[in-house]
Amino acid sequence: MIPRPRLADFKVIGFYSGKIVFGVGLLMVVPLVVALLFREWNPALDFLIGMFSCFSVGLLLQIVCFTRRDLTWMQGLVIASFSWLLAVVLGAMPHYLSGHFGCYLDSCFDLMSGYTTTGLYLLQDLDHISHSLNTWRHLLTYAGGQGIIVIALTFLIRGTAGAFKMYVGEGKEEKLLPNVIQTARAIWLVSLVYLGVGSLVLWVIAVREGMSLVRGFLHGVWVFMGTWSTGGFAPQSYNIGYYHSLPLEMVTMIIFVIGSFNFALHWAIWTGNRREIYRNIEVVSFFLTVMMTFTLVVVGLMRLGTYPDLMAIFRKGFYHLVSGHTTTGFMTIYSRELVRQWGDLAMLAIAIAMAIGASACSTAGGFKGLRVGIIFKALFQDIKRIVSPETAVIVQKFHHIRDIILEEKHVRGAMFIVLSFVGVHATCTMLGVYYGYPAVQALFDAVSAGSNTGLSCGVVSPAMPSLMKIAFIAAMWMGRLEFMAIFALVGFIVAAVRGK
């Protein structure tokens, strides 16, 4: 028998979700200021409408559901998943009002893509959108990369023991500092320092490559946000190919690789533990899988003679491979070039890289290097056990900030998440094939959505069937929150309907 949730459960969920939605409204102040600076009056009104809608819903929830109760695990997880949905629906208002979307579902798609740092988009006529809307798109990925709950924890929620439960619900488990609020602030400190330095470097490059000071500055900040958050949104429809700049490609690659590392690793290095970068299981796993998948990409491209020389193979092949592996999604080629020039082998290699993804507790998506490393360590442990004498005790360790003995619970946890991802990728691929897309192309874009990457070979478009849009929104949401919070929300709804 499932116990039906009590009124107190609804109140706690409503109260904290209200705070998070209020936080989303506060975020809109940034694009609003940009709109006023550039005298974009209609977009300014769009952001005012979006902001006051978030404030109204957020305040109403906080008044109606006012509570001083702390959170249980179930409530924390439900808040994480429910507040993301609310943030998407309300945050999509300025997008929709801009007139660049065919329907509200399309704007919700872009919002989910932004928050989850995916980078797929259905926005039409990107090359003619306002500066403020472009700021909002990129701010979404920047904020989403750190986590909208991390924002709320930083600014709006006072320290409660239950805060950690919401934080975990957003797909992060690392505690950089003993207190979760301090951890959230540390994440922001790391991100804001990189924002300052990275934007400055990109601004200098943009101006050197022929852009004006003002546009160079805007592009520097926007591209940094899309890069650091491994988001993949870019201000122009040509994506990073717009700039035709090797220095910019190199710098963005460095930034998205750094951005894809675990915040705990950043913190360890910041606090003087530099050896961690060579020993961490995620870094080792990332390096090995990049090498393996890049070999496949090179073989695929050389077999078809796609590029004239090794420099071009490196500049295109390696950039897109690492962009996919870190789940960034930046492109310097046209989407359809993947189909027309790259061929199935290179596309599948990138799909594998996207599926693996980068580090846990980072801005990136995918299975995560930690889990892939754990599964491989478990495999080696089993092989060692088979070849060793029966009486031998085989102990396997892995290094993640500290040495940890590999236990069954680690392997079970990693396998559960990896299998859930595989299920999501398979479902979206099947749906694509059902609607008539070729299997490899359907798989490529499905993995891209589920792993929050954003590379596309052309399946994702405003003309895509609505059911596929909904499936991809769900895939992005599940991929970002890593399933537990979504399962908790589904369980909560079932309990509310069928519980006693």
């Binding site: 109140k11 009104l45 001083r68 959108i129 122009q236 004239p308 420099m311 070039e337």
Partner: protein, 193 residues
């Protein structure tokens, strides 16, 4: 001799006349030299190394690089001045002489439809000079039509909606403050801790 020359003249005028009729009946044939960006991407092997004519709106920035420049030219529905939604942007990157690029006065953005240019040059599906980029190295860039401003009149409906929502959120904020104050004074019921 005279007979054969008149035969050739008669027949060639017939062929030219027929071609003119066909072009008149089918404008697509008349513009067959202009290749679309979609066709260039989809049939990149075919067009690789060929001289093509491409026409569209210059968007974003003219990025001067020494004696040359990069421009991005869109040939989608929006480049024809339409503001109705018609899918993603599509276009081609053009590598041209800086002097040609300086002819461009208006580039497409939120406030403008950019200059329409006609570019004639060599198409590269993976340019060896530019790290494998798909581009057109222009021999000639011609401004066909000047760009123009796009007006964005303020929508009254949005002003009304923003005003109403401002009043609602202000009222809720005030109510929240009052309830908090009353709780502190002990006049409102304290929720379960």
């Amino acid at each position: 001799m005279t007979t054969s020359r008149s035969f050739v003249i008669r027949h060639s005028s017939f062929v030219i006349g027929l071609l003119c009729c066909l072009m008149f009946l089918n404008p697509g044939l008349a513009a067959a030299e202009v290749v679309s960006s979609g066709e260039l991407v989809e049939r990149c092997q075919f067009y690789d190394g060929k001289v093509v004519t491409f026409r569209g709106e210059v968007v974003g920035d003219v990025m001067i690089r020494g004696e040359f420049a990069w421009i991005n030219v869109n040939d989608d529905a929006y480049s024809k001045g339409s503001r109705k939604l018609a899918g993603y942007n599509s276009g081609q990157s053009i590598w041209c002489r800086a002097d040609d690029a300086k002819l461009i006065e208006v580039t497409g953005d939120y406030r403008h439809v950019g200059d329409i240019v006609e570019v004639r040059g060599m198409f590269n599906r993976a340019c060896p000079e530019h790290g494998g980029d798909m581009d057109i190295h222009a021999n000639e860039v011609r401004v066909v039509r000047r760009g123009r401003s796009i007006s964005h009149p303020i929508e009254n409906g949005k002003i009304r909606a923003a005003s109403i929502l401002f009043v609602i959120s202000f009222a809720l904020f005030a109510l929240g403050r009052i309830l908090r104050w009353r709780r502190l004074r002990g006049r409102a019921p304290e929720p379960e801790a």
